[in-house]
């Protein structure tokens, strides 16, 4: 069973290569089958008892000298999210014309690299895998090779290279101080250091690299260009916002495990979280392009996750991590919806989109569920995680800021509600939603609802955390939510 960990990394890359080399008529079917296997495997791993991390040394060489794969609860959880999202994306774009074998090969290899980041125990491995996934993502962004995507892809590549160069220099300092580079030994060795001030330089360099990867406040300007780019396929934006930005947050959590014993990180993460959340939605309100609103919104939500991670109460990090799952699903759903809306209306500006309720009730219902989730309505996934992010904070400053963030989120999504009303502007185009796309929408909407209503059971399954947020309390929150909306 422990050997199946290798499959998470190698199987998507193999699948991509097979799809590229053999080119039979049913190559996409192979991709979907492999995705299903991976989703099943990650669900199985989540259900095992992972309170202690399972370490699988490769070639039975012990850890400081060899490489190992480690899976603990956080890693299994992130892999479940990434495999599930990749599966849904591959099913969604089954019939699209940009699913050439080359695109699918790079897309699936990206999944293998992201899984590798979640499984590795060595910081240098993480650096290499993140660099290779940066290359894959920039190729996917500029896949259609027209002028806008070329600029966006190049900007993305350069900023991420500079960020990871800082990360690598910090790693060099860590190696100079300790001589080991894997998380297990570093977390044992760090408290033994006599001169704690020597850790300032490696920590600041590594933190700079990580905050560029997870798009925190001063370093997020690459994200709207990369995620909201005009001609990238919507599944690429969905994967980027849903999974790839979360690898930055995952790295932050791992670094927090290592450095947290020595450097007090809580206030730093909270401050960055608040700044990012407020900055994100302020910029999101000013946009008129549908994908750019969603991209700036991702910045704000990552800030919210960081507020959860830096909170004082022990339930706050659980809420933050749960929000990773919730955000991956509803942001992915919103990006897919944006792609379909751009196809239906032929324009990217929100002000010109009207009359969706007339055109298709199914799409409208999906959009309403997604927006209610993202703004934190009770019974939906967003509300569940936001309750736990704000749990136990009684101070007036925190409450004011948190309410401000919630209000700002809702304001930026009022524009989306306007899409529903009004008349459909031009005669009905021949656009029809295919079965696979409807299936994906239905599944994602259902999961958003399940994450909200049955949140306690889901949290116990994937996180091993016992949260108690029963239904009646959720119903009582509706009053607060509607009051804020009014």
């Amino acid at each position: 069973m422990n050997g199946t960990l290798l499959l998470f990394v190698f199987l998507p890359i193999f699948a991509g290569l097979f799809v590229y080399l053999l080119k039979p008529a049913q190559n996409k079917g192979i991709a979907v089958l492999i995705q299903l296997t991976l989703v099943g495997l990650s669900a199985v791993w989540c259900s095992r008892d992972l309170s202690q991390a399972i370490l699988v040394p490769l070639l039975q060489i012990p850890l400081p000298y060899g490489m190992a794969l480690r899976i603990d609860r956080l890693g299994a959880f992130m892999m479940l999210i990434s495999n599930l999202l990749f599966f849904l994306m591959v099913v969604f774009s089954f019939y699209k014309e940009y699913m050439t074998p080359l695109f699918l090969a790079i897309f699936l290899s990206l999944q293998g690299f992201i899984n590798g980041v979640f499984l590795s125990v060595d910081i240098f491995n993480i650096y290499i895998l993140v660099e290779v996934s940066t290359i894959s993502v920039s190729i996917l962004i500029m896949f259609k090779k027209d002028s806008q995507s070329m600029y966006d892809g190049m900007f993305y590549l350069m900023t991420n290279l500079v960020g990871m160069a800082f990360f690598l220099l910090g790693l060099g300092y860590l190696y100079k101080l300790f001589g080991v580079l894997d998380f297990v030994h570093l977390s044992k060795a760090l408290p033994l250091l006599a001169d704690k001030k020597a850790l300032a330089i490696p920590f600041s360099l590594i933190f700079t690299g990580i905050s560029l990867k997870s798009a925190l406040l001063p370093l997020f300007s690459w994200l709207p260009k990369a995620h909201g780019t005009a001609s990238a396929p919507s599944i690429v934006s969905a994967i980027l916002s849903g999974v790839y930005v979360k690898t930055g947050v995952f790295l932050l959590l791992r670094v927090h495990e290592v450095f947290g014993a020595v450097i007090p990180l809580q206030e730093l993460i909270s401050v960055f979280g608040f700044a990012t959340a407020i900055g994100g939605f302020v910029l999101a309100i000013a946009q008129s392009d549908i994908k750019l609103i969603l991209a700036y919104h991702t910045v704000s939500q990552v800030g919210l996750i960081l507020i959860g991670l830096g909170g004082g109460h022990p339930l706050n990090p659980v809420g933050g991590v749960y929000h990773i799952l919730a955000h991956a699903l509803f942001k992915g759903l919103l990006f897919l919806l944006a792609g379909v809306l751009i196809e239906i209306y032929g324009t990217r500006k929100i002000s010109e989109m009207r009359g969706l309720w007339q055109r298709s009730k199914f799409l409208s219902a999906t959009m309403i569920v997604a927006i209610l989730s993202i703004t934190g309505a009770p019974f939906f996934s967003g509300g569940f995680s936001k309750y736990f992010i704000a749990y136990g904070h009684e101070g007036i400053g925190f409450t004011v800021l948190f309410t401000l963030i919630n209000a700002g989120t809702m304001t930026s999504f009022i524009k989306f509600f306007r899409i529903l009303g009004g008349k459909f502007p031009k005669p009905k185009s021949a656009f029809r939603l295919r079965k696979n796309q409807s299936f994906v929408y239905a599944v994602m909407t259902g999961i958003c609802l399940i994450l909200g209503i049955f949140g306690e059971q889901v949290a116990a399954f994937v996180l091993g955390a016992s949260l108690s947020y029963p239904i009646y309390r959720q119903a009582a929150k509706w009053l607060e939510y509607l009051a804020l909306y009014a």
Partner: protein, 121 residues
């Protein structure tokens, strides 16, 4: 004497790294940005290789390696070969993208390209 004790691999590599950072901040030519990223990567490679580097160290190859007092550390060398490979591939990719960008936008200046990109939207 004091000056010579400062000039070793690590300080030179940090100076070189920040020269690269200056280059990518302050230059408007896209090619100079690509070169600056290359300088940053070279600086990191120098840093890793000069961690506890000793001119009297012996390469870690051979059967009777235990007889020698100082043996060079093979771990940074192996890590840096990987880093060099990654550096080459990202330089190649960014150069290809730059050639495409130059053909589409007709300029190799960040500001002009950014203005044209904004006009397209």
């Amino acid at each position: 004497m004091i000056f010579e004790s400062f000039v070793d691999g690590e300080t030179i590599s940090v100076v070189l790294f920040f020269i690269g950072v200056y280059g990518i901040c302050a230059r408007r030519n896209i090619l100079k940005s690509i070169i600056s990223i290359g300088i940053m990567q070279a600086a990191i490679i120098l840093f890793f290789l000069s961690i506890k580097a000793d001119p009297a160290a012996v390469p870690p190859i051979g059967a009777n390696i235990a007889d020698y007092a100082r043996v060079a550390d093979p771990v940074p060398q192996a890590l840096m070969i990987t880093a060099i490979v990654v550096g080459i591939s990202v330089t190649a990719l960014s150069l290809t993208m730059f050639v495409n960008l130059h053909h589409k936008y007709g300029s190799s200046n960040w500001n002009k390209v950014k203005r044209k990109r904004r006009d397209i939207d």
